[in-house]
Symmetry: C2
Subunit: 337 residues, 2 copies
């Protein structure tokens, strides 16, 4: 057993697209392991888009990697030394090893892997990306047979899983991918019903026309991995009651167009795990009797205040409406005849 290890540290914070100079490759002594810890020799490491966020010191859902610290990331490897119950030398494990060829981790942060499935699947289809697809579709996508799903980054580890799970649930699945090879892959390997090459469309309007042609019944679920042009293209095609699990926005990870206010808003939806719901009251009339029986007594009792702005006569009604649109009224605008 060697007593040296190699790791990649974050040397400086990238601006826009990261550059090789933002990283430093370092050799160091393997730390001594303490009680409850395990030393893993890493055989496989994962690279995932979320890592770009960790390189930035902008506030996000997870702390950024400190300058000089090992880049964060999941790895698979074998135990080479253990001071923890339940882990023996030779065990195949996975955990947040970082970008390094060895890692010392508390046993509680490691998970043992079966030997009968390729070890790299723990980083992909049976790891975080696959789990992301499965969870997001189940909790937020709410797929129903016969509906239409559009997936951005459809040949990626998340998108390809979303497509397959939705297809198995009886949905029509449409892939958005970059280039003819990925489009072929989406249909042939991942079973999408159709694939659209976003690189063949310079603007959102042209991409939208292509997606519209492939989604004659509209879009019920848009799985959001990218933001940018694809989001703009898909949004007007959504059906009433559609669902958008927001899983990533890789188009904006390296920065957005100056003056574009959308990335700030959309990024907050992701990083804050917001639940944003369009409300059109005409969908909810069935609940009106419940509302009245709850609220009418409170209004009658004076427990709920209300304010009316009373105008008079039909003739001035257009002007009253115009004024209301710019905040000219105070309270509910009523016109008495």
């Amino acid at each position: 057993m060697t007593d040296q290890m190699k790791r990649i540290a974050l040397a400086r914070r990238p601006e826009g697209v990261p550059a090789p100079q933002d990283f430093s490759i370092e050799t160091m002594d393997i730390p001594a392991i303490k009680a409850g810890e395990v030393l893993v020799r890493v055989s496989c490491l994962s690279l995932d888009p979320y890592m770009r966020g960790r390189m930035s010191d902008a506030p996000s859902y997870a702390p950024s990697v400190d300058l000089g610290a090992t880049m964060t990331g999941q790895g698979v490897g074998r135990v080479v030394a253990s001071k923890a119950d339940g882990f023996a030398v030779g065990d195949l494990v996975t955990g947040m090893t970082g970008w390094a060829d060895h890692a010392v981790l508390p046993a509680a942060e490691l998970r043992k892997l079966p030997e009968d499935i390729p070890e790299s699947t723990a980083l992909g289809v049976l790891g975080m990306p696959g789990f992301t697809a499965w969870t997001g579709l189940r909790k937020y996508g709410l797929p129903k047979a016969g509906e239409t799903l559009v997936v951005a980054s459809a040949t990626g580890p998340v998108g390809s899983m979303v497509g397959q799970l939705a297809k198995a649930a009886g949905l029509r699945t449409i892939a958005i991918a970059g280039g003819p090879e990925k489009c072929a892959l989406a249909v042939e390997t991942f079973g999408f019903d159709a694939a659209i090459d976003h690189k063949a469309h310079d603007d959102a309007a042209s991409l939208r026309a292509a997606i519209a042609a492939a989604t004659p019944d509209g879009v019920d679920i848009y799985w959001e991995n990218v933001g940018g042009k694809v989001l703009e293209a898909v949004m007007p095609l959504m059906n009433v009651g559609g669902r958008i699990p927001v899983c990533g926005m890789i188009a904006w990870y390296n920065g957005a167009e100056a003056g574009d206010k959308l990335p700030l808003i959309w990024r907050s939806v992701l990083t804050k795990r917001l639940s944003v719901n369009g409300l059109i009251i005409f969908d909810h009339w069935d609940d009106f009797p419940d509302f009245l029986s709850d609220v009418a007594p409170k209004v009658a009792a004076g427990d709920i205040a209300y304010l009316e702005d009373i105008a008079h006569g039909l003739d001035d009604m257009p002007q009253t409406f115009i004024s209301m649109l710019t905040g000219g009224n105070t309270g509910k605008q009523i016109v008495k005849l």
Copy 2:
């Protein structure tokens, strides 16, 4: 009983802010009523921001008003003639009378009102605006005692109801309103804990600082009535797991800044009643065993396809990462050591 009525018709489609010339005031004969219909003399009419949308012929959640047709809207009045069971002359009723002093409506589209509550409440606190507040808060706001709610257009008929219902549920309630008088009203009449005058802030950053000062624990629910500057200001203040019922976007009803992509997206959320949910997989680890037991057998059986893009060695890892961010990989990016 007169045999003439007066109505306001849509004369042309407004561009931007409506003008009086977009409407025409007309006198006409009261239509004869048929079996099952009721003639109502209108005493009170409602004016609501949603009406601006009906004046446009852009596709929306409801059909636009035809040119030459009576402007749509809810009214209250008394029955002056009835050919319908259950409605007698003198009954106080409400329905979609349109902007007119008389209306002939099918009985099924009318609702009788009690005589002991002011009739205009059927258009406001006990009508569509109040019902909107009650429904949206209950279904999408999901208020919990101790949380913080921010409401745009807080002294309007929807916002003032949202604030009072949330306050009664034990939330800290913050009003956004236009001008010192409305701010005073929000606190004194509607019981908001604080009110912020958006007119006192020229840009979103300045408004955000004021809201942040009033929301030391962040924002759990943002009730969206306006879009524009307020949305931009509030969004970064949202807490993890926050909820945004999107009820309106009056700031953009008369058009948006050229090149601003946000209104298109946000408008779709409203008009299509979308459910948009941020997904960060690190919140969901408890479900990981369920995922593995569902999906691992399918992967082992070859029922789920997956694709890996294998790179080799730690030294090239930064470059591999950079390439992945721009779509250079195909399938899950793995680095083998």
